[in-house]
Amino acid sequence: MKLRELAHARTGDKGNTSNISVIAYDPGDFAFLREHVTADRVKAHFADIVRGTVERYELPSLGALNFVLHDTLGGGVTRSLSLDAHGKSLSGCLLEMDVPDTQHPNGEVRR
């Protein structure tokens, strides 16, 4: 199953650092996201993009995770050679991440 089935995301940029929020559509899926969408997995997902560390912050009251990706934007929006210098498209790339199929509380298996 793709992460996109469970969560939405938004990218922001400050200097050479990108942040990507991952927000559960259903707050009941937050624990599942916390288990499966780790900082290590996000760094591996963006192996060709992230040159620094990845930090994860948890916001359980919003059902959200916030990932901070250091040294990621080719020197920052003002200097990057990237087609998407802000890295705004990274949220869409992150939602392509595979997560295990999960059973929704209503019994329906999501994949």
């Binding site: 995301a9 938004r10 200097g15 963006f46 060709d48 993009i49 087609l83 595979d98």
Partner: protein, 453 residues
């Protein structure tokens, strides 16, 4: 409890014009903020001012003020904006000219200055953030240095009865928090309330990004009416709680999901969001749907403001050359790859020196680079080839001549490269880059001056 209604009329320099007028006419607002100054914008503006003294303020200032000034003046809506960019005094004079032309004699426009710290930063020893070195060690000439100011000079201007406050670099949320501090008399050392005010400012500062812009994903997150997206307004109460909404009948939506995305936008550690006025803590923010297109925001707190302010330093860094060309039909991907190999060889053969080069295929790996095969469910080769692609070569050079060569080597693929290459495009430019440093607060001297129409 006293309530202030404050609207957000622009989320970046080039943003749409009409939504602000809709807010002024139908939003029943008392304040209208315009956030128009991205990290690099002020460096570009500083450069513009060097070439044209008197310029250096936001290029859309005149258009935005022509659109809203008369309505705002007629209804007593006060405007706060950072459209002064590199020249707040010039911006204030321009707004006064527009006011006079429109018969708004007596309109009072305040210009906030003091964010320009070029002299201090070039004279001192300032370590860069995010990378090694100091401002003095930057390779190219430094052309601007602007500190992120807080609410104080804006509040001073509002106390001075300004109808319009125009600033240069200030923290984006401060444009919206300053009217709240002014109206509610919030003490500037009440970190808890300033944390809540920062939440409100942060939610409003990107305008349409909280009302359904930068959000729609058909089938997952559908948004109606993006062509006439309504910009947000907040009804803020003196305890710092607020309700975010928009003008009834405008496009877009205000939902828990739009608000959650915007709350976390450009945030790092949610418990320590550094602002000039406070270190805000967003971790305890509560959002509740409070009717159609209405979201109630409460919680949020803060701790003592930092003793240093962030400074954006603009300098000439390097040159960038780029070329693109497209291929279509069966074999398009293979022809694109061949084209990239040809350009790679040509840049070597002709001795173009580049410190950084990107060879990529738009539609395949330009945004997510190589991606991770595992995360895409198997080797890239398993996916069907796209029927049209566009290659892109971009490089960083030390001279403009070499930057030009990069685009040329893509363009010459027309007659020297694979079959059916079309739509070549090239560019070469000098890179005006921005880095950050910190300046002790005590080195900043702000001032407020007035123009009366």
């Amino acid at each position: 409890m006293k309530t202030i209604r404050i609207g957000s009329g622009a989320g970046y320099s080039g943003d749409r014009i009409e939504p602000a007028l809709e807010l002024a006419e139908h939003g029943d607002i008392q304040y209208l903020g315009f956030e128009c100054l991205a990290e690099r914008t002020i460096a570009l503006a500083q450069h513009a001012r060097l070439n044209e003294p008197g310029g250096g303020y936001d290029p859309l200032l005149t258009a935005r003020m022509e659109a809203v000034l008369a309505v705002c003046a007629g209804r007593g809506i006060r405007i706060v904006t950072n459209m002064g960019a590199a020249n707040p005094l010039g911006a204030a004079r321009e707004i006064a000219r527009i006011a006079r032309r429109r018969g708004l004699a007596g309109l009072r426009i305040a210009a906030v200055t003091g964010d320009d710290v070029l002299q201090q930063v070039t004279a001192g020893d300032f370590a860069l953030l995010e990378r090694p070195g100091t401002v003095a060690s930057l390779t190219g000439p430094v052309i601007s240095a602007n500190a992120y100011l807080g609410v104080e000079p804006i509040v001073e201007a509002l106390r001075g009865d300004a109808d319009v406050v125009v600033t240069g670099r200030v923290a984006d949320p401060a444009l919206f928090m300053a009217p709240l501090v002014h109206e509610f008399g919030w003490p500037l050392d009440d970190w808890d309330i300033l944390g809540k005010g920062t939440v409100v400012g942060h939610l409003l500062e990107c305008a349409g990004q909280i009302t359904g812009g930068y959000f729609a994903d058909p089938g997952y997150k559908d948004v109606a009416g993006l062509a006439r997206l309504g910009f947000p307004l907040a009804e803020v109460r003196s305890d710092g709680s607020a309700t975010v909404t928009k003008v009834a009948g405008s496009g877009g939506m205000v939902s828990l999901r739009t608000c959650k995305e915007q709350l976390l936008y450009e945030l790092h550690d949610p418990t320590r969001y550094f602002q000039p006025d406070v270190v805000a803590d967003f971790s305890g923010v509560r959002l509740e749907q409070d009717g159609f297109d209405r979201v109630a925001v409460s919680g949020g707190s803060g701790t003592a403001r930092p003793e240093t302010l962030k400074v954006s330093v603009g300098y000439f860094d390097s040159f960038m050359g780029e070329g693109q060309i497209s291929y279509a039909g069966a074999g398009a991907l293979a022809r694109g790859k061949l084209a990239l190999e040809i350009v790679r060889d040509r840049l070597k053969l002709t001795g173009v020196q580049a410190s950084e080069l990107r060879f990529e295929i738009i539609g395949v790996d330009a945004l997510h680079r190589g991606g991770s095969d595992a995360s895409y469910g198997g080797p890239r080769g398993d996916r069907p080839d796209p029927l049209e692609i566009r290659i892109r070569v971009a490089g960083r050079t030390e001279t403009i001549a070499e930057a030009v060569r990069i685009g040329n080597e893509v363009e010459t693929l027309y007659t020297n490269g694979p079959a059916g290459g079309g739509g070549a495009w090239k560019s070469a430019r000098q890179v005006l880059a921005v880095v950050s440093t910190l300046i002790p607060r005590v080195q900043i001297r702000t001032a407020v001056s007035y123009e009366v129409a």
